[in-house]
C-alpha cells in the first residue's frame, strides 16, 4: 500500500505534467511549430475512446461475462474500415461548413434546425453525465485502493473535479472561437493515451508472466475450471448489439467527434489512424482476459472492476500499482476534459446562444459574455458528473458506460441518414431522435435507476401501469439481455420514425439545398444561382464585418474580413457582386463555427428576414383586385391599394423612406412590417440603407419565399435608382431591378411600385397599371443597359480594332444616327475627360441624361447599329456569341437581335408550335401583340397564356361565344380593319397570323396574297412586326415562292 499523500501527490504531479505538455504544445503552435499536426498524435487522440471504462470496466466485465467485453473495441476497429469513405466525409462536411460539434453537424444538415441542435445537446448532456461520473468514480476508487481509503471519497472527487475543470478551461476554452484547434488539449490527450497503454501492458505482462507462468497458464486454468469455463463462450446476441452500439459510439460521442473530426488538421492523417486505432484497441485489450481471470483465480478481494490495481496492491507491487493508478487517471482525465469542452460548446451554441442573441446581444460585450458562458458550461458538465457519482450507486462501471453508448446511438440514424439520404427531413430527424430517446430512457435508463434504488422495482416486474407487455426489460414479451433489448427497440423505432416522417413531411427548400450540399460534398459546387448573383457592394462589407464583430470582437472580425478579401484578390472598394456573395458565405461559416448553426441562422434571419403577417381582416369586400406574379405601377393610390389588399388576407411588406409611424397612423395598419430606407440607424424599426441593394433584395426575397400570398409596396423606386446610379456601376442597379422583376414573376406575390409618372416611359391611363420589362420602362435604365451591351461588344475586340470601333460608334452617336429619333448628347473621344483616363479605349463614352430611354425595339436597333460598325472593323465579329450570356442574364432572347421593326417574317413549320411560342415569349416580355389564329382562343389562352382580347379567332361558325373576337376567314376587309386599328393604337405592335392554309381554302390564294401584301406595306409604315406561320407542304412550289417573296424568313 502506498502512503496516501504520495498517491495524491503523484496524481497531482501527473496532472501538472499534462498541464506542462499542453502548455508546451500551445506555445509551439503559437511559434508556428505545431507538434500536434501529425497522424500519430491524431490517432492517439482518437484512442481517447479507451477511458477508465477500458482500464477498469472491461476487466470487470471479462471477470463476469468473459469475452463479452470485446465487442466494445471490435466495433471501433471495424468502423475504421469505413474511415476513408465515412469519417473522411464527416471531416469534409465539418470543415466546409465550420461545424464544431455533433449537434451542429446534425442540426446544420436539417436546415440549421434549432430544435434538433437543442435535442442532441440535451441528450448529450444527459448521457455524458453518468460517463463523467464513471471516470471520477474510477479515479477515486483506485486511489482508495492504493492508499487504503484514507481520504473521504466525496472530497477527493471534488478536488479531482475542480482540477480537471481548470485544465479544461485553460486548454479547451481559452478563446471563444472553437475553430482554433486546441493543440494543448490534444497533446495532453495523446500523451495520456501512451501512458495508459504502457501502464496497461506493464500490468498485464506482470500479472500474466510475473505472477502466473504465462498467458496460456491463466487461460488453461479458466478453460478447465467448472466455475469459469463459461467465460470463453460469448453470448452472440449481446455480442452483436454491443458491436453495433460501440460502432455508433466512436462516431457520435461528443468527445470522439471532437477529436476525430473537429481537431483533424489533415484528412490524410485518417489513413494512419485507420490502422493505428484498431492496433491500439487490440493492444489495450490484449491482457484484459488475463488480468480479469487472474483476479478470479487469485481470489483478489474487492470489485472485479478494480483488479487492474488491486492485484498489484495485493501482491505488494506498489510501484506497479502506482503506475496503473496513473494510467487510470490518464484514461479518465482525458475523457472528462474533452467531453466537458465539447458538451460545454454544444450547450452554448445550441441552447443558450439564441436566447443571448435575442435578449442580451445588442450593445453588450458579446465575446466576453460568450466566453464566460462557455466556462460555466464546462464547470456545469463536471459538476453534474460529480453529483451523479455521489447520488447514484452503480451496477458496474461497464453498465454506466453502456447506458451512455446506447443513448448516443440514437443520433446515428439522423446523422448517417443525413449524410447519405437526401430525403431525410427535419421532421424525420426529430421524430426519430425523440422516439429513440424515449425508448432508451424506458428500456435502459429506468432499469439502471431501479437498480440504484431511485425508482420502485415494481415498474420492472409489473410493467408500466401494471401492463406486463410494457415491462422495460421485456417489451412486448421480447426476452433478450438488457442491452440487446434496449438497443433493438430504441434503434428500430428511431429508424422507423426517421424514415416514415421523412417520407411524409418533405424537406423544405432550404433543407433540400443543404442536404444536397452535404450528401454531395465531394462534387463541385455549382455557380451561384443567377438571381443571387445580382448584388452590389456598397456598404455591405462593412455591415458583414459589424455583424461578425458582435460575436468575435472587432479586431478579429477586421482581420477575418481583410484576410478573406486578400484571398479573393480584391479590396473593400473594388469587390464585385460575386465576390461579395462568396465573402458573405465565408463569414457566415465563420459565424457558424463561433456560435453554431442554429444560432447563425437566427442572427442572419434577424438581420435580414421579415416574417409575413396578416392584418386584421376587414369585413368588407376588397376594393381592388391585383393578380399574383404581376407588377403594378400605381402613381397616386399606391398606399390605398396596398392597405386594401393587406386588410383582406394578403401578407404585406412596405418599403419606404418615410417615417414608419407616420405611415402606420395614416393608413391604419399595425402588423404589416415596414422597412425604412434610410442611412440613419433608427431605434426599434427595421431599416436598410438605400445604397444597400443586396440586403434590400435578400430581405424582399426572404419575405416572398416565406409567404404564400403576398404584396410588396416599394415606394420611390425612382429615387432609389437615381441615388444608386450615382454611387455604383449602373449594371448593378440593372441587376437589382431585373432580379426584382424575376422575383415577382416567379412567385405568388404582387409588386406595387409608387414612382413619379414622368419616370415611366409608358402611358399610365389607369389608377392601377400592370407593367412589364421594368428596365425598358423606368428612367434611363435602358440606356445603361445599352452601355453595358456596347461595352461587352467592344471588350471582345482586340486592341487594334477597339479604338477604331469606339471612334466610329461615337461618331454615330454625335450625328444622332445611333438612337433613332432620340437626341443623345454623345461626346467625341477628343473632347471627353475620359480621354485622359488610363482605361480609355475600353468602353464607349455615352452621356446618359435622366430623361433618356430606349424602348425594347430601339434598344435592339441601337445594338444592331453598334454591331454593324464593329463588323466593319472586325468582319469576324459575331454579336450573338458575345452578347449571348448578357442577354440570358436579362431575360432577352437571341432572336431579338434579328427582329427588325417594319418587317414581315415567315416561319416555316408543319404545326405552328414555334410561332406561337415566339409570340408568347415576346408578349410575356412586354410586347403588345395580336394573334390571328385558326385555333380556338381557349386553347391559346390555356396553353400559351394569351390575353383574350389579343386573340382573333378565324372561324365561319356562328355559334361562337361573345367574349372572343371572331372574324370570318373570307372577310378580308374586316380583318384589315382590325389589324389597322391595332397598328394605329399600339406602340411597337406585333401580329401573328396563323391559319394561312385555312384562309386560302375558305377563300382563294390570290385574295390571301393580296391581303398579305397590303399588310406588309402597313407593317412597314408603322414599324411593326408581322409573323406569319406557313406550312410549306400545304402549298405548291409556285404559290409558296410567291408568298415567301413578300416576307423575310425567320429561323428559330
Amino acid at each position: 500500500m502506498i502512503a496516501p499523500h504520495i498517491a495524491l501527490a503523484t496524481m497531482v504531479l501527473y496532472l501538472l505534467l499534462l498541464f506542462g505538455i499542453a502548455l508546451y504544445a500551445y506555445r509551439q503552435r503559437q511559434a508556428g511549430r505545431s507538434i500536434v499536426s501529425n497522424p500519430y498524435v491524431y490517432a492517439l487522440s482518437i484512442c481517447l475512446y479507451a477511458t477508465a471504462w477500458a482500464f477498469y470496466g472491461s476487466v470487470g466485465k471479462a471477470a463476469s461475462t468473459g469475452l463479452s467485453f470485446l465487442p466494445i473495441y471490435l466495433g471501433p476497429s471495424l468502423i475504421m474500415l469505413l474511415g476513408w469513405p465515412l469519417i473522411r466525409k464527416m471531416i469534409r462536411i465539418s470543415k466546409e461548413y465550420r461545424l464544431t460539434t455533433i449537434s451542429d453537424f446534425i442540426s446544420f444538415r436539417y436546415g440549421r434546425s434549432y430544435a434538433i441542435g437543442a435535442l442532441v445537446t440535451i441528450a448529450s448532456l444527459i448521457t455524458i453525465t453518468p460517463y463523467v461520473a464513471l471516470q471520477l468514480i474510477a479515479i477515486t476508487d483506485s486511489l482508495n485502493i492504493i492508499s487504503g481509503e484514507y481520504y473521504p471519497i466525496g472530497s477527493m472527487r471534488l478536488v479531482v473535479t475542480i482540477l480537471l475543470g481548470v485544465f479544461a478551461i485553460v486548454f479547451g476554452a481559452r478563446y471563444l472561437d472553437p475553430l482554433e484547434r486546441h493543440e494543448g488539449l490534444i497533446a495532453a490527450v495523446a500523451f495520456g493515451s501512451v501512458v495508459k497503454l504502457v501502464a496497461f501492458l506493464a500490468a498485464g505482462i506482470y500479472i500474466a508472466y510475473g505472477i502466473f507462468g504465462g498467458y496460456g497458464v491463466i487461460v488453461d486454468e479458466i478453460a478447465t475450471s467448472p466455475d469459469y469455463s463459461h467465460l470463453l463462450q460469448p453470448d452472440y446476441v449481446s455480442w452483436f448489439s454491443l458491436t453495433l452500439i460501440s460502432l455508433f459510439a466512436i462516431l457520435f460521442l461528443p468527445r470522439q467527434f471532437h477529436v476525430m473530426v473537429v481537431e483533424n488538421s489533415d484528412e490524410n492523417h485518417l489513413k494512419k489512424a485507420m490502422w493505428l486505432v484498431p492496433l491500439y484497441m487490440l493492444l489495450i485489450n490484449l491482457f484484459v482476459p488475463a488480468v480479469a481471470w487472474a483476479g478470479l483465480l487469485l481470489d483478489t478481494p474487492g470489485s472485479a472492476d478494480m483488479f487492474m490495481v488491486s492485484i498489484p496492491v495485493d501482491q505488494g507491487n506498489d510501484l506497479l500499482a502506482l503506475l496503473v493508478f496513473i494510467g487510470g487517471v490518464s484514461a479518465a482525465a482525458a475523457m472528462v476534459l474533452v467531453s466537458a469542452v465539447a458538451v460545454g460548446t454544444m450547450m452554448l451554441n445550441d441552447l443558450e446562444m439564441s436566447h443571448i442573441i435575442r435578449r442580451i446581444g445588442k450593445g453588450r460585450d458579446l465575446p466576453s459574455l460568450l466566453l464566460t458562458m462557455r466556462w460555466l458550461n464546462i464547470l456545469l458538465v463536471l459538476a453534474l458528473g460529480y453529483l451523479y457519482s455521489l447520488l447514484v450507486e452503480y451496477h458496474s462501471l461497464v453498465d454506466i458506460g453502456l447506458i451512455s453508448f446506447l443513448a448516443v446511438s440514437q443520433i446515428a440514424p439522423a446523422a448517417l441518414g443525413g449524410m447519405y439520404w437526401k430525403k431525410g427531413s427535419r421532421h424525420g430527424a426529430i421524430a426519430g431522435l425523440v422516439s429513440g430517446f424515449l425508448i432508451w430512457g424506458y428500456t435502459a435508463l429506468i432499469p439502471s435507476l431501479v437498480w440504484s434504488g431511485l425508482i420502485s422495482e415494481r415498474l420492472l416486474t409489473e410493467g408500466l401501469l401494471g401492463i406486463g407487455f410494457l415491462r422495460p426489460t421485456s417489451l412486448f414479451g421480447l426476452h433478450l439481455d438488457m442491452w440487446t433489448h434496449a438497443a433493438f427497440w430504441s434503434i428500430f423505432v428511431n429508424c422507423l420514425f426517421y424514415v416514415l416522417f421523412s417520407l411524409i413531411y418533405r424537406p423544405s427548400q432550404e433543407e433540400m439545398a443543404l442536404s444536397e450540399s452535404v450528401v454531395d460534398i465531394y462534387e463541385a459546387r455549382p455557380e451561384l444561382a443567377l438571381s443571387e448573383r445580382r448584388m452590389i457592394r456598397v456598404g455591405t462589407v462593412d455591415e458583414l464585418e459589424t455583424t461578425l464583430a458582435r460575436y468575435i470582437g472587432e479586431e478579429k472580425a477586421k482581420r477575418e474580413v481583410d484576410s478573406n478579401l486578400a484571398e479573393l484578390g480584391t479590396t473593400r472598394e473594388r469587390i464585385d457582386a460575386k465576390q461579395l456573395m462568396i465573402l458573405r458565405e465565408v463569414l457566415e461559416k465563420r459565424l457558424t463555427g463561433t456560435v453554431g448553426t442554429s444560432a447563425t441562422r437566427i442572427i442572419v434571419e434577424e438581420e435580414i428576414s421579415v416574417k409575413p403577417v396578416v392584418e386584421v381582416v376587414r369585413g368588407t369586400k376588397a376594393m381592388y383586385t391585383l393578380n399574383p406574379s404581376r407588377i403594378y405601377v400605381i402613381p397616386e393610390k399606391a398606399y390605398e391599394v396596398f392597405t386594401d389588399q393587406i386588410t383582406h388576407g394578403i401578407e404585406g411588406l412596405c418599403i419606404a423612406s418615410s417615417d414608419p409611424d407616420e405611415i402606420r397612423s395614416r393608413w391604419q395598419f399595425t402588423e404589416t412590417p415596414i422597412i425604412r430606407l434610410s442611412h440613419d440607424r433608427g431605434r426599434g424599426e427595421m431599416y436598410i440603407a438605400p445604397t444597400n441593394l443586396p440586403l434590400l433584395f435578400i430581405t424582399i426575397k426572404s419575405f416572398v419565399e416565406k409567404s404564400t400570398n403576398s404584396i410588396i409596396l416599394l415606394d420611390n423606386l425612382d429615387d432609389l435608382i437615381e441615388e444608386n446610379v450615382s454611387v455604383v456601376p449602373p449594371s448593378e442597379v440593372l441587376d437589382f431591378v431585373y432580379a426584382l422583376e424575376s422575383l415577382a414573376r416567379e412567385n405568388r406575390t404582387r409588386f406595387v411600385l409608387k414612382v413619379r409618372p414622368e419616370y415611366v416611359h409608358e402611358k399610365l391611363p389607369l389608377e392601377i397599371n400592370e407593367v412589364r420589362q421594368l428596365i425598358f420602362l423606368l428612367g434611363p435604365l435602358s440606356c445603361y443597359l445599352f452601355k453595358d451591351f456596347a461595352d461587352a461588344m467592344i471588350a471582345s475586340l482586340d486592341e487594334s480594332c477597339r479604338r477604331e470601333a469606339i471612334r466610329d460608334i461615337e461618331v454615330l452617336m454625335e450625328t444622332d444616327r445611333l438612337f433613332e429619333g432620340i437626341k443623345c448628347a454623345g461626346r467625341s473621344a477628343e473632347m471627353s475627360p475620359e480621354a485622359c483616363d488610363p482605361d480609355m479605349g475600353k468602353s464607349v463614352v455615352v452621356k446618359i441624361e435622366p430623361h433618356l430611354s430606349l424602348s425594347r425595339w430601339e434598344f435592339f436597333m441601337a445594338i444592331r447599329s453598334v454591331a454593324r460598325e464593329i463588323k466593319k472593323v472586325d468582319p469576324k465579329f459575331d454579336p450573338k456569341s458575345v452578347l449571348g450570356p448578357l442577354m440570358a442574364k436579362y431575360g432577352l432572347k437571341l432572336y431579338e437581335l434579328d427582329l427588325i421593326p417594319g418587317t414581315t417574317y415567315v416561319i416555316e413549320e408543319e404545326k405552328p408550335q414555334k410561332s406561337l411560342e415566339l409570340f408568347s415569349d415576346l408578349t410575356r416580355l412586354g410586347a403588345v401583340g395580336l394573334c390571328i389564329s385558326r385555333y380556338h382562343p381557349d386553347k391559346l389562352i390555356e396553353r400559351y397564356n394569351f390575353h383574350p382580347e389579343r386573340v382573333i379567332w378565324l372561324t365561319q361558325s356562328t355559334a361562337y361565344e361573345a367574349k372572343y373576337r371572331c372574324v370570318d376567314p373570307t372577310n378580308f376587309p374586316r380583318l384589315s380593319s382590325i389589324t389597322s386599328d391595332f397598328l394605329t393604337n399600339t406602340k411597337e405592335p406585333l401580329i401573328l397570323l396563323e391559319g394561312l392554309g385555312y384562309l386560302i381554302t375558305q377563300s382563294n390564294y390570290e385574295s390571301v396574297l393580296r391581303f398579305i401584301q397590303s399588310q406588309r406595306d402597313e407593317i412597314s409604315m408603322r414599324k411593326a412586326m408581322l409573323f406569319i406561320h406557313l406550312d410549306p407542304l400545304a402549298l405548291d412550289t409556285k404559290e409558296l415562292h410567291r408568298l415567301k417573296s413578300e416576307m423575310e424568313p425567320l429561323e428559330l
Binding site: 474500415l81 476513408w84 470463453l232 452483436f240 458491436t243 490502422w275
Partner: protein, 70 residues
C-alpha cells in the same frame, strides 16, 4: 478489365465490402465456428480466431496507407 489492388483500395465500395466482411467474420454465426474445445498453439481457438481477424484488419488498412502514400 481488371483493376490493380491499389485502385481497388481507392474505391469506397471496397471498404464497405471489407466492413461487411469483417462484421460477418467477427459475429455470429461465423464466430460460433471458433468456439468449442479446439486449441491453437495451446490457446482456445476463439481467442486465436478473433486475434487473427483483428490483425488482418489492421494489416490490410496498414497496406492501404502504405500503397496510397506511395
Amino acid at each position: 478489365m481488371t483493376v490493380s489492388i491499389k485502385d481497388l483500395m481507392e474505391q469506397d465500395d471496397f471498404w464497405i465490402l471489407l466492413f461487411v466482411l469483417g462484421s460477418f467474420l467477427l459475429n455470429w454465426p461465423l464466430l460460433s465456428l471458433a468456439t468449442g474445445e479446439s486449441r491453437v498453439f495451446g490457446y482456445p481457438l476463439i481467442l486465436v480466431y478473433i486475434l487473427v481477424v483483428w490483425l488482418i484488419i489492421i494489416l490490410w488498412v496498414y497496406l492501404f496507407e502504405r500503397w496510397t502514400l506511395d
